[in-house]
């Protein structure tokens, strides 16, 4: 699965996610990636793209949950993403991670698996890319 989140110079947010699914999956199985609110979500508060155990991300509405925790719970981006990725997803046996950006340009890339391919960059600064472990 791949994805992107961005904050533009006008202060708007957007998210996109794309995937080939899981190796050897049953034909017709759909994961979280194409479902707004599960594997992909953007509002005027936060943009989120997920990768992981699709069924768990669907059941938790993981991407929207980050936004809801911020909007209704008053959590920061860091608190909201930590709650979802490090607490809620593992509680249901899921693993993986997400990338998220808020309207202030804060970027969080948490994961609860052993590694994740990620990159980010602010306009005018050097791009950063790594296999985070």
């Amino acid at each position: 699965t791949v994805g992107a989140v961005a904050l533009d110079s006008a202060g708007n947010l957007a998210a996109a996610t794309s995937t080939g699914g899981m190796t050897n999956k049953q034909v017709g199985r759909v994961g979280d990636s194409p479902l707004p609110g599960a594997g992909c979500y953007a509002s005027d508060t936060v943009a989120v793209s997920c990768t992981g155990t699709g069924e768990v991300f669907i059941r938790t509405l993981a991407a929207y949950d980050v936004a809801a925790l911020m909007n209704y719970g008053g959590l920061s981006l860091q608190q909201a993403t930590e709650r979802v990725v490090m607490e809620k997803i593992p509680q249901l046996g899921g693993s993986g991670g997400l990338i998220a950006i808020d309207r202030q340009g804060n970027v969080l890339l948490p994961f609860n698996s052993e590694g994740m391919y990620r990159g980010y960059g602010v306009v005018g600064e050097a791009p950063v890319a790594a296999i985070f472990r």
Binding site: T1, S9, A15, A16, T23, K25, P36, Q104, G105, R133
Partner: protein, 182 residues
Amino acid sequence: MVRATIAIHGGAGTITRTSMDAKAEQRYRQALTQIVASAQAMLASGASALDVVTEAVRLLEECPMFNAGVGSVFTHQATHELDACVMDGRTLEAGAVAGVSHIRNPVLAARAVLEHSPHVLFTGAGAESFAAAQGLEMVAADFFSTPGRRKQLERAQNQQKVVLDHDEARSGEPLDPDRKMG
């Protein structure tokens, strides 16, 4: 002043000692860096966040190292089923496609759904008909196949429980391809 920013991911998963290959890691880092740099240039020129995430994901779909577009994994029946979604935070508009096999860039189809349909999600043949009607590039089903992904399927089908086996040497990719989500 807004700090225009892009972040991308190419999946998460398991790292095994045998899969840590320095050259492979460098290839992945280079691909990610190029896509981030391209997105930064778009943002610097005033492009919208929606355009930037669409293009970043399109580039990831074009890179065979990641599980999306070219290089997608195989289903049990040795086919490909691709899914994508795009969402605009400014308007809460969204577009998505699922279970498509002939659209070169599913993220562009998702974007077309967002822009040119009153609906949010199209699946299978309906999604492909919609994409074709929008003038998107259609490809043969094997366009997305790579030898590495076929071997990955064969391992999965031969061993059935391969997703639980992380002791065996794999392809040398930084993340074990059999235990990577996406």
